[in-house]
């Protein structure tokens, strides 16, 4: 996505969006496309994390955007347009998941909030993984694999907050949960990912792949 299309969270952006919303409400339907364009990636990410399938996520975003267009007159200026859009997308994705994938829903215990504290594993000889490592396909695959292994409630929060950079409050609104729940789930998600990735990235699997080729791990 071009840099100019990234969403801007500032008063000028909100004013600009409000102007576009008014134009759409006054029948200038083309303005709606400009309104949603900066958020397409976020909407796709929100749908994908729930549906876990590219084609379903794309179709879901299309339906959600059409619903947003249909109900644009119900949008209230005091809300944030991007959060409203993501809420609609999350609801659409959840509805589809219930309708189409009842048979593959995660076991109930995976969806239930885990109680109690989480004890992170002891990796005192931890080494930092530099950003350049992301250029390597196997590193990206490992990150994707670790993310997919999280329970749904943790994955949703982590993707919206840490990958799509929503605030705690926006994440809570988008998912229909409290900010306290977002924080609890985020803590658990981050620690679980760290536990899953730190030993692998710093040790056995990277050594196996990279040292076998006579390269440094990063």
């Amino acid at each position: 996505m071009a840099a100019g299309l990234e969403p801007l969270d500032n008063p000028a952006q909100r004013h600009y969006e409000q102007g576009l919303i008014e134009r759409v409400r006054n029948g200038e339907h083309e303005a709606f496309y400009h309104l949603i364009r900066p958020y397409e990636r976020r909407l796709y990410a929100a749908a994908f994390v729930i549906l876990r399938n590219e084609a379903d996520a794309e179709d879901c975003v299309q339906e959600a955007v059409l619903k947003a267009f249909k109900y644009i007159h119900q949008f209230r200026a005091e809300a944030k347009f991007s959060t409203w859009l993501i809420q609609i997308t999350v609801n659409e994705a959840r509805m589809r998941r219930r309708r189409d994938h009842d048979d593959i829903l995660e076991p109930i215990e995976n969806r239930k909030e885990e109680e109690g504290s989480y004890t992170p594993r002891d990796f005192a000889d931890w080494r930092e993984i530099p950003s350049e490592a992301l250029e390597r396909q196997e590193v990206r695959e490992k990150l994707g694999e670790a993310l997919r292994s999280l329970g749904q409630i943790y994955r949703e929060v982590f993707v919206l907050r840490d990958m799509e950079q929503l605030s705690i409050e926006e994440t809570a609104k988008a998912l229909g949960i409290s900010t306290a729940s977002v924080k609890t789930r985020l803590l658990r998600a981050r620690l679980m990912l760290r536990d899953l990735l730190t030993p692998g990235l710093g040790g056995p699997w990277s050594s196996r792949i990279s040292f076998a080729k006579g390269e440094k791990p990063w």
Binding site: F32, Y33, R41, E58, F123, E128
Partner: protein
């Protein structure tokens, strides 16, 4: 303030987000200076958050934006056509029967899609063999990885699939949908 390892683990996420009180922040920093395990937890977690933040694992598929735009456009213009059709019928006959007839003929030529907003196509070869699932909304070429409901698949012609209201899969039927290239 002296804190235990468990307190660091409990607040590591809030600490990384800058959401802890200054006193607790200082206590965490003091603690990790003397505790290699907690230093590994805090710095390792920060590292993971940074990596995922930079990573574009969830980039939209190629053509996503254009297809979204097309669907929006077709939906908006469809609602305009409906309104226009009603106006034309009303003006021509001034009769309820007029508008009814227009609606009926339109229903005969373009079947109602199973998905309200699916993108129809008239470019798929009518005799092409396609795969549908009984509860699905979309038809596919054989072997498309996006076929759902694999236990109830039927092999029919594209003509029959479209007649039944199935829309072409945006993946495997892409070349028939890419009007703008």
């Amino acid at each position: 303030m002296v804190i235990k390892c468990e307190e660091v683990w409990r607040d590591v996420s809030n600490y990384l987000d800058g959401e802890v009180e200054p006193g607790l922040r200082l206590a965490i920093e003091e603690h990790i200076r003397g505790c290699s395990r907690c230093a590994a937890v805090v710095n390792g977690t920060r590292n993971i958050v940074q990596l995922y933040g930079e990573q574009r694992m969830l980039d939209v598929p190629v053509g996503f934006s254009r297809r979204l735009h097309q669907r929006l456009e077709s939906n908006v213009s469809a609602s305009r056509r409906t309104f226009l059709g009603w106006m034309v019928a009303a003006a021509a006959g001034g009769l309820v029967f007029g508008s009814f007839e227009l609606a009926s003929s339109s229903a005969l030529t373009s079947p109602r899609l199973r998905s309200e907003h699916a993108q129809a196509s008239n470019r798929v070869p009518p005799d092409m063999t396609v795969i549908v699932s009984e509860r699905g909304k979309v038809f596919h070429v054989a072997g498309c990885p996006f076929i759902h409901g694999k236990s109830n698949l039927l092999t029919i012609s594209a003509r029959d699939a479209e007649r039944e209201g199935y829309a072409p899969c945006v993946r495997c039927m892409k070349k028939y949908l890419d009007v703008s290239g």
